[in-house]
Symmetry: C2
């Protein structure tokens, strides 16, 4: 009676289709020599605040741009465009994640070979984005100290598919009695060996660690 | 070429199937005289902290119980069970929301007529839960001051399907420079007239407003 198995089946086809498109994107990124970084997290974990700072501070060294996904509004694109970097908003409507097709469409007309690093900020969601390959080189999962230490245990898939975790809003750690050891232990338990960076976009704490990692990864990638 | 339209079509069937099951649940809740409240929000907005307090403080007056959804772990059920109220965990695996079938299954063996209020804590997600009717009488959307004032604009559907909004963690409002007027304006713009309560589970600020509303709504419902 349930239509759930049929949904799973069709969803698998969608994912397979997405994987093909993501492979095309990855080839295109490689050919253009652009390093692609995607950011995923809960709503309000500080993706846009970190990206704002990142775009501004990287620009003297690297040519950067960003795509930013939301169900509605172009608030984030307007905010990020103030950095001077090229930014485009993707509005997903009711869809809880970006997919490779949306990314490909949003890149229409952009000369990728003129970029060193492209950032893709996903819709705020700790579940849906995990299954959708966007052709990125580095997938970063953010969690803020205000969300609680247990998020890796509750949303293991997104941490499992990430290449780096960033703990954000560390300036609020004391106010929320954040248990740093527990958070690190929980990340380690769902994804052993995952690299973790801790930042506060507001105070710039840890931002250099993040920028150094990006510059090093991008330059290795660009060869 | 895209399989997206097929996914939309199958998804509509799933939603229709869910609506039928939710109607059955609603009839069952009504027959048993239990008032059902669901909570939705981003991960880490404080659903469990608020529910912990609510279960503890309501128990002298009302017979309460809770179902709590997460992709993985039964951390929240263990935490809430300390209140002494009956609590059951629903693990959704990779599914980003509860549905009526999961709720019906989780209620198996419970004597609903022995309850006054049943709480259903959804998976932390501001997108997926919005389309799934759980047969609840009151759907509450939470947003914490740490998430930013723009969440209603970015996730309008979940605010549109809610009957009440709760702004949580107000004890952190100053630390994160929360713009209360902007948040209230944004809620009002996507869902005019939506009732808003402001609480801090840590300090108990506003908790009485929430409990009074529940007691009054439940007693009206119980007639």
């Amino acid at each position: 009676m349930s239509t759930q198995p049929r949904l799973v089946e069709v969803r698998q086809k969608v994912l397979k289709h997405n994987d093909l498109l993501a492979r095309n994107l990855r080839d295109r990124f490689r050919a253009a020599g652009v390093y692609v970084v995607s950011l995923v997290s809960s709503p309000g974990s500080g993706k846009t605040a970190l990206l704002e700072k990142t775009l501004t501070l990287l620009q003297p060294k690297l040519r950067v741009a960003a795509l930013v996904g939301d169900l509605a509004t172009d608030n984030d694109a307007l905010r990020l465009a103030q950095s001077g970097a090229p930014v485009r908003q993707i509005q997903t409507g009711t869809v809880c994640h970006l997919d490779a097709e949306m990314v490909a469409k949003a890149l229409d007309g952009w000369q990728l070979q003129n970029l060193d690093v492209l950032f893709i900020e996903n819709v705020g969601n700790l579940v849906c984005p995990s299954s959708y390959d966007l052709g990125e080189n580095l997938r970063v999962v953010l969690m803020s100290v205000t969300e609680g230490e247990d998020k890796p245990l509750k949303y293991p898939t997104i941490f499992n598919t990430a290449d780096l975790a960033i703990i954000t809003k560390t300036d609020l750690a004391a106010a929320v009695e954040f248990d740093r050891d527990a958070a690190l232990r929980n990340i380690e338990s769902v994804r052993p060996g995952l690299n973790v960076i801790e930042v506060a976009s507001k105070t710039n704490a840890g931002i250099d660690d993040w920028l150094d990692l990006l510059v090093s990864a991008a330059s290795q990638h660009l060869g």
